[in-house]
Symmetry: D2
Subunit: 136 residues, 4 copies
Amino acid sequence: MEAFPFSTGVTVRFAETDAQGVAHNSNYPIWFEVARVAYLREYAGGYNAVREKGVEILVTETYARYLSPAFFDDGIEIGARCRAVRGARFRFEYEVRRGDELLAEGWTAHACVDAETLRPTRVPGWLTEAIGRAEG
Amino acid sequence: MEAFPFSTGVTVRFAETDAQGVAHNSNYPIWFEVARVAYLREYAGGYNAVREKGVEILVTETYARYLSPAFFDDGIEIGARCRAVRGARFRFEYEVRRGDELLAEGWTAHACVDAETLRPTRVPGWLTEAIGRAEG
Amino acid sequence: MEAFPFSTGVTVRFAETDAQGVAHNSNYPIWFEVARVAYLREYAGGYNAVREKGVEILVTETYARYLSPAFFDDGIEIGARCRAVRGARFRFEYEVRRGDELLAEGWTAHACVDAETLRPTRVPGWLTEAIGRAEG
Amino acid sequence: MEAFPFSTGVTVRFAETDAQGVAHNSNYPIWFEVARVAYLREYAGGYNAVREKGVEILVTETYARYLSPAFFDDGIEIGARCRAVRGARFRFEYEVRRGDELLAEGWTAHACVDAETLRPTRVPGWLTEAIGRAEG
């Protein structure tokens, strides 16, 4: 897998652990979202900027593969990159690392909809351009 | 403590446990809410009915006391009752039981606000009456 | 898609909604788990029975596809079935319905490990048999 | 209220919002915990250091008062301080701020128990001293 040019740090919260003593799998989509939001803040003026322009971003699919558990108080890095912008759709890919160790990887698929009508709308040009600059 | 005439059942989810092997304390306000919503469904046409009448119910305070832990897959009962309706404000009291054992108790304080202006608004008469009938 | 012989009901909690006004995507893996746990309770003596026999079930992958949003207080049904038991691994498939409407579908992949050593261990015969009876 | 000498920053996650468009009340006990863990990391070698010495810290009570909502992507500061160490018990106080604005305040009560027997055990001397140094 290629490098992730963008990443953001998260410390595993005690509330995120489960009775197996590890971070529960339902936290990974939340961490993916934290990284996606940080990515959009860095490159596209923030998720609120997208919403203020009348576009809502929906999550249409989530995939995650867990290779090694994350533990309470671990400092982990969530890498994120945006791929495959086409029409109303795009995709984010993620990896979760603790130092050099890959803990999990995954992706989410997204659709842009008009915030009023909830109908699909093309990924706005300024967002495509912002992503292009980030990933170029 | 007097009896709770209304209660609703919850089964402790694995995702709700933490690395101490018990249900994490942040779940209790959620279970309180589950019971409050079920109470309003039973006696006042449901929380959505409240919202549709242009009233938003805010949570202004939460208190919980944990006496004994709840474990994964435990069937627990959340008792709820409404108290002290005054002006825009009211209060719910709760208890969490596993069979005869009291696991936790607590209360939440609430304010009614106009959904448009977010200004305090009297607890609607029909809601006060519904609560009166429930608690009478 | 074939029928799901087993399903369990969940009511969408207010705490599970997000600022888009719908159930947040991170709840679906939790609902999948609720259905998986209920399935194992129904057919295999419960997840705690599995753990008490020294076997820990890990989640190794999660996939979900969201077709239509779930809203606060919706009564939804989570269908679950077990597939593809092989060696230490098996897979659950899910669908989330509100009445006749399919809201989401997904699957999780699992590995059995020895609770002491955390090394992969074959899916226990009694569990394979229980699943066979459930799915036959 | 006196100043909080210690605080830690949190950015409100989209997953933490609810259908009222604000951070759900159940996140405040989690943020309190994030600040408590960061406090113990700063002054007492971390929560894992406490656990490794055979002491488990239980949460016995939680109180929170919500003054003003927190919104998605808000950068907030959670102030924490430790009070009233007595026998096996102590107490943390918190405030949640967005810049100069106080959004919420609260406290949690705690008991130290022996990790093996789960019986109450005096707050360890080194922890009392660490807290004394932090708060002095």
